[in-house]
């Protein structure tokens, strides 16, 4: 006797609705029907969204998807390990409110959609479930007056600081405080059976990461079972008290010269799961390498001179045909005809009937960007991968400088999203002098490879160059990765997006790959733009040739 709307009937409309609102395309799946339908709550993870197969109305479905979409836009899942169930519930409550308010800032009409579901009224009940339902309303509606001290405190703290709503840690902080208060109130809470209210809100499973996959899930198909609230109780044995730890951010910057480091930019990062940029997500810190003496490896003079010749040749190789010249090496056929016609008609012919070929310098800026992550310390040839990168870069830079090509040289690495290091060796305007060579020698290999951020930063530097063509030549021995990204695909997709963004701005990006998975590199850079150097030792000879070929 269901009088409601069936998901199957509404699916197409709902998919279009959530796509329109948030630009995301999650598959919608029915929840397994193994209980009271009225108690079912939506669930989501980064792959899909599950909704009851039948629900009272379209508006409930819409409200649920608008809410889940707000999470996908503004929430990042936290590790749940070691957190008490009560804490998780209360933090989720604040997180729900936080993302809804952010969503309503952008789409104020959502208030009309959600408000009718917040129907609870002030009461004297001190049951945890009732308190939390009332808190949900108090955090949604600033005009609601509850009267309970706990609810009022949460409401006041939340609405006092709308400026902090952008920060997910705000939910952690308030949730920690209020969960502590609730704990002291000795209210009984049934964490296993707790049901989120109002019903359009998801069961919070998508907000929390559980390290250990749950015991063999009965529904193999259902990745969401892993994070359902009943997991929480399972972990209750793991007793650890105290405030929630703020997220897994290892101590930043164990770097020597902190003075030389300064934040220079923030860049967005692409989240492929939601199909959106997270604005200003990454901080780039500029960190000028300490000058060191250039390595003692004796220069191979023959190689050097070959490279110089190669670059010089490439630089001037572009012929340009000039027509209707007064003199030249060939007749310009069109001009000849015009002149003949003119003469026939009795006019004085234009005698500029030659064409000639002029070779001119290229209208090009290049940025050579070296991977300076930990893995470049791996041995290769006589030294490390980084040694070879350095040597190649030095050879190339010397030749480019001599030929007058416009270029810059830098390294990059990362230590979480707040510490993407940009290591400038030579900027566009500067000369490639001993100071620059010293900085190149001072490059060392540490940490990780947040490639997308580095590509975007390189793009911002290249975009300002006044040349027609702009080229980013990235030398790396691995694939994107960073300590705060458990999902390897995330940074791959971000890097791919960054490459596309640069392409959209007319900047060519080419990757010289010294290792790593070719498939990944092809995915990021496009097949044509990856040059795999199979023997790292050959890099010094190859890199200039690659450059010449790319730009010639």
């Amino acid at each position: 006797m269901e009088s409601g709307v069936a998901l199957a009937d509404a699916e197409r409309r709902l998919k279009a609705y959530v796509a329109a609102l948030w630009g995301i395309d999650p598959p919608l799946r029915p929840l397994p029907q193994d209980g009271d339908p009225a108690a079912m709550r939506p669930r989501f993870d980064d792959a899909l969204v599950r909704l009851p197969a039948v629900w009272p109305g379209m508006d409930l479905y819409r409200a649920a998807l608008a809410h889940v979409g707000a999470h996908r836009m503004f929430s990042r899942p936290w590790p749940a390990r070691g957190l008490k169930p009560l804490l998780i519930l209360v933090v989720s409550l604040f997180e729900d409110a936080r993302v809804e308010h952010l969503a309503m800032r952008r789409l104020p009409g959502l208030r009309r959609l959600w408000a009718p579901f917040h129907r609870t009224e002030p009461s004297a009940s001190l049951m945890a479930a009732d308190l939390m339902e009332r808190m949900a309303r108090a955090l949604f509606d600033p005009a609601y007056r509850d009267g309970n001290a706990w609810v009022d405190k949460g409401q006041r703290l939340f609405f006092e600081r709308p400026d902090r709503w952008d920060d997910p840690d705000f939910s952690l902080m308030l949730g920690g405080t209020l969960a502590g208060d609730l704990g002291k109130m000795r209210v009984q809470i049934n964490a296993r059976g707790h049901r989120v209210e109002p019903p359009y809100r998801d069961d919070n499973g998508g907000l929390w990461l559980h390290d250990t996959p749950p015991e063999p899930p009965r529904d193999v198909d259902d990745p969401l079972d892993a994070v359902r609230p009943d997991r929480i109780e399972a972990e209750q044995s793991d007793r650890r008290d105290g405030p929630p730890r703020s997220l897994p951010r290892p101590a930043p910057f164990a770097v020597a010269d902190a003075a030389a480091m300064q934040p220079v930019a923030r860049h967005p990062e692409w989240d492929h799961r939601i199909g959106l940029h997270r604005p200003d997500f990454v901080r780039v810190v500029e960190c000028v390498p300490e000058r060191r003496p250039m390595s003692d490896a004796p220069d191979d003079r023959r190689l050097t001179s070959r490279v110089h010749a190669l670059i010089r040749h490439a630089v001037v190789a572009r012929p340009e045909r000039l027509r209707r010249q007064r003199e030249g090496d060939r007749l310009d056929l069109d001009a000849c005809i015009a002149a003949a016609v003119a003469r026939c008609q009795g006019h004085a012919p234009d005698m500029q009937v030659y064409q000639r070929v002029r070779r001119r310098g290229r209208d090009l800026s290049a940025l050579l960007l070296l991977d300076a992550s930990q893995s470049t310390n791996d041995p290769a040839g006589d030294g490390t991968v980084l040694d070879l990168e350095r040597r190649s870069a030095d050879l190339l830079a010397g030749a480019l400088d001599a030929a007058g090509d416009r270029f810059a040289l830098a390294g990059f690495r990362s230590d979480g999203r707040e510490a993407v290091q940009w290591l400038p060796v030579k900027r566009f305007g500067d000369a490639y002098d001993e100071a620059a060579r010293g900085r190149l020698a001072g490059l060392d290999g540490r940490w990780s490879t947040r490639m997308g951020a580095a590509i975007r930063h390189a793009g911002s530097l290249l975009a300002g160059q006044p040349t027609l063509r702009r080229l980013l030549l990235l030398v790396t021995d691995g694939e994107p990765s960073d300590i705060d990204c458990p999902d390897p695909r995330h940074l791959v997709e971000d890097a791919r997006k960054a490459v596309q963004e640069l392409a959209g701005r007319g900047i060519d990006v080419v990757c010289v790959a010294l290792g790593g998975d070719p498939g990944t590199h092809h995915h990021i850079f496009g097949r044509r733009n990856v040059l795999a150097v199979d023997r790292v030792e050959r890099l010094p000879g190859l890199l200039p040739a690659i450059y010449a070929k790319l730009t010639g």
Binding site: R13, A16, A19, L21, L107, P108, D334, V341
Partner: protein, 265 residues
């Protein structure tokens, strides 16, 4: 003067989204042929009108279609009492007297029609009138501009390589939200805050591009919605009339879009 009616007297409002004005001016200084690419209604036509006004050039516009023949562009002989009379087509007119000639939706024209522009786009800068045995050298002020929408699905509808390569290109997208809100506010007269809401509606519809809609709302549609609002129509009704209904006949998409419009106000 021959092109008086093609002169643009008042400044057409145009809100730049980047350095496109400087780039076009540079191209114009060299009389380089320019191609404007971008989705429907993102402001290509307005841009070229603005540039014509800014550069003080007359603007001859031709909306291309499959029936457009070379003669329609170049001109033809007409029979008058005293004999045949040659009449210049719009392209010839622009070439002779030094106008910007703007061929809108050039992919719609037949390939054999578009080749007549080739001699104008290289060093020759001349238009051969085969039927008259005349080679019209382009006026020093003449510049050719074409526009096209790369978003078409049809494999067949694309410019020939040999045509494409003759142009420098400027790409137009929908303007950034803030700029688009400025444009909508300016053109429709509604408050900036309300214009931002209308632009949010546009963004919602563009999210559905490729997910059922061929195109999202153009800036032009958003201006229409703004004007209806300025005339007293309720915002949701205005967006329904100017955005939702014109975009799609699919009932599911309409429902979704209407609900998303509701979220914006």
């Amino acid at each position: 003067m021959a092109l008086q009616s093609y002169r643009i007297e008042r400044e057409p409002y145009y809100r730049p989204t980047g350095d496109e004005i400087a780039l076009f001016e540079a191209a114009h200084a060299d009389r380089m042929p320019v191609m404007l690419k971008g989705p429907t209604g993102c402001g290509k036509t307005r841009f070229i009108e603005h540039m014509a006004w800014r550069l003080g050039r007359p603007l001859v516009t031709v909306a291309c279609n499959e029936d457009l023949t070379a003669s329609d562009l170049v001109g033809r002989h007409l029979l008058e009492t005293q004999g045949t009379v040659w009449q210049d087509g719009p392209l010839t007119l622009a070439v002779r007297h030094g106008a910007l000639c703007y061929l809108d939706e050039i992919v719609e024209a037949r390939a054999d029609t578009t080749v007549v522009i080739h001699p104008l786009t290289d060093e020759r800068r001349a238009l051969p009138l085969d039927k008259r045995n005349e080679l019209v050298a382009a006026h020093p002020d003449f510049q050719l501009v074409v526009a096209y929408n790369p978003g078409y699905q049809s494999v067949a509808k694309d410019l020939k390589e040999s045509t494409k390569q003759r142009f420098a290109a400027l790409e137009f997208g929908y303007p950034a939200a803030g700029i688009e809100a400025d444009i909508v506010a300016h053109e429709s007269g509604i408050e900036p805050a309300l214009a931002r809401r209308v632009v949010a509606v546009g963004e919602r519809s563009r999210n559905l591009r490729g997910r059922g809609l061929e195109e999202g709302a153009s800036t032009r549609m958003l201006i229409h919605a703004g004007r209806l609002i300025a005339r007293g129509v309720a915002p949701e009704a205005a967006c329904r009339m100017a955005v939702v209904l014109p975009l799609t006949d699919d009932p599911d998409l309409r429902d979704a879009l209407a609900a998303a419009v509701g979220a914006c106000f």
